[in-house]
Symmetry: D2
Subunit: 364 residues, 4 copies
């Protein structure tokens, strides 16, 4: 399996470049009988879409997804599901200025060196544009997880630059352009972003994503632990530089007597572990955090070089997200959903006898 | 492929429990013609081995690895390599006290629920004992990477509880029991650990691992980016709760103008990215950090429950590492080596034409 | 990886049903820098297309393929290639008559039982319509194999019902509607097919496919031998019931002294092995034969049952190929190309050092 | 995943050479709770073992398998199962005569060319010796399939050289050294083999293997059809040159009205299809046939060449099976079991909702 697929039993394979004809994906292994229409995917696609607030890029892409196969009379048939989003915004823009330029912080240089050539228009395959298909595929996983197991997946921005959420109210998240769960900070955020845009600079962010009602038992040690596969999926999102499960880097200074989650027949008394013990879900909420670097496309000049080996100064004009982290919330949710879905299927492949026969021990 | 394998072209599959007959692994896909003897693996196995300092468990396991196949006249033949370490320390200890007990912070509960039964002796498969085979397999990867590409992989402890390394001298790392790169902190570490042992508690740690001389071009976007696969491999090590590449969570508060690595024909001017751009190695050192939680086996009592659903108090007797992070250094190195090796083979599978024909652009 | 993907380093994933919106595929792992346009695929798509002779179904589908990604300025970029063929012939035909009917010889019953529901229009996913995408993907592999290694892949019909080719002239193959290599039998074939159509019946066929100039060394023992993967790919074509490599079932009555291919520094003296020794290509032509069962859709009535559990008589009206084997030639070529391409990449992943350094022994 | 693994959810990975230290395998994904002891594997290992009759090689290998992990208190735990067979017959024989010789019909030449070096002792990895581990792993699959689904897998020799079984009595199969199901032919077989040995030659064979009580629904179209994966597994056995499902090559001359299996609510009226329709099991017995070429090691001289590029005459001394097909029966059974086991797990991963909720339609 090559790098454009993720999963083993629920497999998502994608294609598409920023300025190509279309983006697409194939979902293989989706259980049959799931009711599915484009509406199920459109909501999350709209949440991810640029141009929804004044802090995301103004590029207008309707991102209308079409189901090309695998669904019959609005139900999945168990055969491979083909999804397509046509790129409507392929303005025949002039890209000759970046054709031979390796923009700092971007993948221009590494793509060129790896493949010997590259589609330089808007970053080509390395653009975050491809994440639209992840969101579409994730929506299918989300729907199954919710319907069959009651699993809910929610993400939010926990920190933008220096501004952290001090309280988390999930109801607030969809009420503002930042996916921010703490309404008391919105004004401060607004002001911060206005100053940032003025300076032509960008900033990093921290996103939290959690899943509740996940059954005990998901995860395949020793290498495909649930947390390892979550780390793989989340670190694979553009601009992500760090992944934490539960207390994350907080454990470095913890004592053993502080960090373990005590348990009783009534359940766990805390969730330092973030819902994963020994690489297997514990029944508690799965909690992950990711760090996203600031957008590299900024109007503050930066030194770089050309394909011809000369020095060049780079200034990115045009409108770009000053914080890519904002749009990452639905992407992170999608990736978590895909991982949980895949592990649900992997778990029941091996352990159906246990799932259907053994009474679950403890944990009232 | 199920969860006990890692890699796609360089595939490592392991088996073995803490108190089983033996640990073993199969390496499939190793290039032929590599000189290989047990000595190549023994050094790292000895570095990982418990009982090498007074701060790691006193369990004595010689961890002598045997090569069972895939090597002929001291050279790899390209066929699958079988490795075996017999467990010599299988004292017929009495485990009846933990047979029905779910120790907090351990995988007892999740293994029991996932599989319906478990080998409870010493944690069975969930014990860090299995990492011995990772270290053996990693040593094979390390040797090839070093010999064919001059790649060096080095790890060290960058923080133990509250004590951080303030300088990094790789020559110091092997000179002390902590794999600590800052000799000026050794006395403090010693004192801290003595107090910790006295209190019967444990503490977390942060490990840094880096690879130099990695060629440009490794990594398979969009899902199997090099950093995503590194995150998968490192988060899959026992007790790891966080993974960072380059600046990691530091990017959250960074400005775009601060965090990008400017470049010129002479090379990059900094390495905030940790050697990966767009999921592909940039030629700079690959740098990753991991957070390890404190050992869960401590003598401070903690509440738990039994398989029968009753409440129980857990006190772990016997000698356990007060900081599992210490032994994690060679394990992290091994996992990074396995990922780089796999990606080197994946890269040349697709891009051999580029590798052998195209001159590398820029970066004198 | 689920069942709609084939290959490990050159991975082809497909979707699409007979009467769905479109057929599509993603090729992941294609080497960059290959010149590629739709014309490269169109020729083989036209060869496979129904309605090209009076002995194949009259359904008119232009089968025009579009490249949606992975190609920039007519060269592959190394990123995933998206291909699409829209179904233009989705007449809103009335399928209510077969909605609840399990046609004998078809996959209606097994799909229904496996998935609990099915797209019954024209056989849905089980229709040979999906093989169009295999042919498109195979054409990409063919082009690379030809360009980089001079590998040629040719198929032909070696037997149709009772009529066997007694001589093989590859130049003849494209000159007749049967892909038949023996012009002296064309009249007989024509007559046989006319009678067959009159009787409303169908017949089986044997197809031979061969590849020349394949380098020594392709194949990954012990399970992914080249012949094993060829068998997988060819047996996976609709209606195929048997696969042979080289002498195939002829070896059952052979003596060891007859069947081995003697060799000298000048090369092999025969090719009983069909180009594979110990699962690895020997440098001789790869030769495979497949048996295709007669079309199950015939107008001779046959007993079956309904989803409601009642008996029913089935008569298929409309025009169907009286011999599905005819159109199988380009499909078999495509599958062989995909397998060789995948193994070429797998081989060089592991053995690039051998490939680039070791002089080939013997075999002038 | 590289070539020494087979399966996706039930994954078998093997290592070991003919004259190496040991053979081993790892089974990953085996359901937990299965009672398993070495006795479960030993019976089939003994059936495969050379030296059990005067028509198989006299090499004495006890082939005693050890379980190293994954089984606790005689039950599988769901973790990876390590199996080991030590090679006790590693006589320090002199192999210098074949060191530089490419024996015709063997894999000497192709291994040397692929890997640049090879373990020439007894054929190394290319020896049929490695199939011992397949038989051990297959026995685990067989036990689960039998216990949970009542599936029975039986193989027999249907033809040896010119002598075909005219009747099939499974009770006869284990009563003679040929696994022959037709007792009336035993004398003739005996005579034929005696003459063959005298002449120093060898002969081919045809083996049939069948599975009964296989549930409807196994198989993952379009590429991993059940028959395609069976073909992969069986063609991957040493010396196999052809695979048939059901009527196999007999379909070439069949009419559509003859070859389809008519059905009624009482079931299918015939089994031309060999239990697979559209790549999915139909509930009827799965029937496959394989063709095995004659042993290449014979005492009839044959021309070959050396690694130095000179001509050489090859005469194999020592005792070798005059018909490798004889020992292939338990191997073919094992491979079929592994494929069915893997597909059972794959099927329930995707379709558990169907499996547990939908009543099976028809087929009383």
């Amino acid at each position: 399996m090559s790098g454009n697929s993720i999963g083993q039993n629920f497999v998502v394979t994608t294609f598409g470049e920023s300025h190509g004809v279309a983006l697409g994906c194939i979902i293989d292994g989706c259980p049959p009988g799931l009711e599915l229409t484009v509406e199920d995917m459109q909501r999350d696609l709209d949440r991810r879409r640029p141009g929804t607030s004044r802090y995301t890029t103004a590029r207008r892409e309707p991102d209308e997804v079409r189901i090309l196969s695998g669904v019959f009379e609005d139900k999945t048939t168990g055969t491979s599901i083909g999804l397509l989003i046509e790129n409507t915004d392929q303005r025949s823009q002039d890209y000759s200025n970046i054709k031979d330029l390796f923009r700092p912080g971007h993948a221009d240089y590494t793509y060129q060196q790896k493949y010997g050539l590259r589609d330089y228009r808007g970053g080509g395959r390395s653009s975050a544009r491809e994440t639209a298909m992840r969101v579409a595929a994730g929506a299918v996983a989300k729907k199954y997880l919710k319907q069959v197991h009651g699993i809910e997946i929610n993400g939010y921005m926990s920190q933008l630059g220096p501004i952290s959420a001090e309280s988390v109210d999930l109801n607030e998240v969809e009420q503002n352009a930042f996916f921010f769960p703490d309404a008391s900070k919105l004004e401060k955020l607004d002001e911060y972003m206005r100053d940032l845009k003025k300076s032509g600079d960008s900033v990093g962010a921290k996103i939290t994503v959690a899943a509740t009602s996940v059954p005990v038992g998901l995860g395949e040690p020793v290498f495909d632990r649930l947390d390892a596969d979550i780390a793989h999926a989340l670190m694979g999102i553009n601009a992500v530089k760090g992944v934490e499960i539960g207390d994350g880097f907080g454990v470095v200074t913890q004592k053993g007597s502080e960090g373990r989650d005590l348990m009783s027949p009534a359940g766990f008394e805390s969730n330092h572990a973030g819902g994963v013990l020994g690489g297997i879900s514990s029944g508690q909420p799965i909690v992950a955090h990711i760090a996203l670097k600031p957008t590299s496309s900024i109007s503050v000049p930066g030194q770089s070089m050309t394909a011809q080996g000369t020095t060049a100064d780079v200034v990115t004009k045009g409108r770009h997200d000053p914080c890519v982290g904002i749009r990452a919330v639905p992407i992170a949710e999608a990736m978590l959903a895909i991982v949980l879905m895949d592990h649900l299927l992997r778990h029941r492949a091996q352990n159906q006898d246990v799932v259907s026969q053994t009474p679950v021990i403890g944990m009232k």
